[in-house]
């Protein structure tokens, strides 16, 4: 099994850290993983995307031409990556960030209103974990337990009290993702 994923949005949305937690969770399951970021000099507001590959076999190229799954969190990212999803692949998009939804008929399209849910839950910073929950619902690339273990491993100790909130966010994402 190899899952080739692109996660794309604005800097500050947690794109890179979501990818990192996914990669770390894969690592904890003994899988081969590669996390390849692409972003500009800005810390916030610029475009940011990350390619995450989780595989049972060694990963060749960290740079890909097309993807099994594209997670797109803003309109420019959708326009860039919709054509690059493999036929039969998946797009997950956030309803708040995307005005014109994807139109391809040969792929599976899922909508997740993660930004709205994050605002409702008053947990705006867990936006990316809600999206991750959505991904794990439709493609269980890694187990949720591995994600929690990855959070424990990657978050500084002083932030460990936030892990239950992150778990809540992941489970929320699993609930609210809908097929279009």
């Amino acid at each position: 099994m190899t899952e080739e994923i692109i996660i794309a949005g604005f800097g500050g949305q947690g794109v890179l850290s979501m990818g990192k937690i996914l990669a770390y969770a894969g690592l904890m399951e003994g899988k081969e993983v590669t996390w390849m970021p692409a972003y500009g000099p800005e810390q916030r507001g610029g475009t940011a995307n990350v390619t995450v590959i989780v595989s049972d076999a060694p990963v060749s190229s960290p740079i890909l031409s097309n993807y099994d799954t594209a997670i797109v969190l803003n309109q420019p990212s959708l326009e860039k990556f919709e054509p690059k999803v493999k036929p039969g692949g998946t797009i997950i998009y956030d309803g708040y960030g995307i005005n014109e939804p994807p139109t391809r008929k040969d792929i599976e399209i899922y909508r997740i209103d993660a930004m709205d849910a994050a605002a409702e839950m008053n947990l705006i910073k867990t936006f990316n974990m809600i999206v991750l929950g959505g991904l794990l619902k439709i493609h269980p690339v890694v187990q949720i337990e591995s994600v929690l273990a990855a959070l424990r491993k990657t978050l500084p100790e002083r932030h460990h009290h936030l892990i239950p909130k992150n778990e809540e966010a992941i489970r929320k994402g699993m609930e609210i993702i809908v097929k279009q």
Partner: protein
């Protein structure tokens, strides 16, 4: 951290951890994207509190390389890291160290140029790394890692080769290898050498005249031409020895190949995926990955010319290594180049298209 723990980290972070673990005595550097995590990781790890390794942020790359020059004179294991524009600033010091025959490690995590260029990955410093860069007839030993694991492993290897030949070594990585995260098993801890061990290993070094031994003078200056020619000949003899003994490379799916891609670093990773795609379309292609860019695997490329119908040099630049491939092939088969510029990394499908278009 246990010695054999598998962890996830960036290539730049792996360089820093490996430096501490291989018994490095000093790091002198100045921040620049996309390699700043080397200095950041060293600052966070505080090795001066554990191994005693010095970590110093200098006021510029020119200072960094001259601090490395000074440290290297004393036989210490010293290093610096930077990215392309910063490495350009260091060229004078690098040439002096090559002339004074000093072991040191310089890491270049390349970004696109020329000039300040871009902060995105590139491989456009191949010429600078392999053909001199600074003035005078000299070579660096140049290692090109293609994974985060190799970023970690090549630190110790680079120091080993640098001390074996009393010559500066370079790890020539690029922004992609520096910034990407992969699984890595860090090398086991080696203690820093004691003063006695350094005196024994480096009888040439300025370690203090214990027992009033003959003074060791380290310089790249010799105004008498006859003497300077003798020094140059000795250095050239050393280079011939390195060319004979230290060539390293990897072969991938070359057994039945009709075409070959030659690529290093992140381009070699892309090439492997391209080869999977091309083979699924019936194109028999394999990869030769030079691990040492200098010494270049001349014999291996020459041999390849007797097997395949054509060679594609895949580089993230406008065509630099392709010149060395052509020299090795001696006109026997077509050698083409494909690359992207300005910080854009070619994707695997583009490479397959290039293969079809160029042959």
């Amino acid at each position: 951290m246990a010695d054999q723990e598998i962890t996830l980290m960036k290539g730049n972070e792996a360089i820093a951890h490996a430096a501490i673990r291989c018994g490095c005595d000093g790091y002198f550097g100045y921040p620049i994207t996309p390699q700043s995590e080397v200095l950041e990781t060293l600052a966070a790890e505080k090795p001066w509190e554990t191994t005693g390794m010095v970590v110093l942020q200098a006021e510029s790359e020119v200072s960094s390389i001259n601090m490395v020059y000074g440290g290297a004179c004393t036989g210490k294991k010293v290093m610096t890291s930077s990215s392309s524009p910063g490495v350009s600033l260091m060229q004078e010091g690098i040439s002096y160290m090559a002339g004074a025959e000093l072991p040191a490690l310089i890491v270049n995590v390349m970004r696109g140029g020329p000039g300040l260029g871009t902060i995105q990955p590139s491989q456009s410093d191949y010429f600078q790394a392999c053909k001199g860069g600074g003035h005078g007839d000299y070579h660096l030993i140049v290692l090109a890692p293609a994974s985060v694991q190799e970023m970690a492993d090549f630190v110790d290897l680079a120091f080993t080769l640098a001390f074996r030949y009393r010559n500066p070594a370079m790890i020539l990585a690029d922004g992609a290898i520096g910034q990407m995260m992969e699984k890595v098993v860090l090398p086991p801890f080696k203690p820093r050498r004691t003063e006695e061990e350094i005196i024994k290993e480096c009888p040439w070094a300025t370690t203090g005249r214990v027992g009033m031994r003959k003074p060791n003078i380290i310089t790249s200056l010799e105004l008498r031409s006859e003497e300077m020619e003798i020094i140059n000949n000795r250095i050239q003899d050393k280079y011939r020895k390195i060319e004979e003994s230290e060539v390293r490379y990897e072969e991938f799916m070359l057994e039945d190949a009709e075409y070959a891609i030659v690529a290093f670093g992140s381009a070699a990773r892309i090439a492997k995926k391209s080869i999977e795609v091309a083979r699924a379309q019936g194109i028999k292609v394999g990869l030769l990955r030079p691990i040492t860019l200098w010494p270049f695997p001349v014999k291996e490329v020459c041999k390849l010319a007797g097997q395949v119908k054509g060679i594609l040099s895949l580089e993230i630049n406008a065509g630099q290594m392709v010149e060395d491939i052509r020299l090795a092939v001696e006109g026997r088969i077509p050698v083409r180049h494909f690359g992207r510029l300005g910080g854009i990394i070619p994707d695997p499908d583009e490479v397959v298209d290039a293969l079809k278009r160029l042959f």
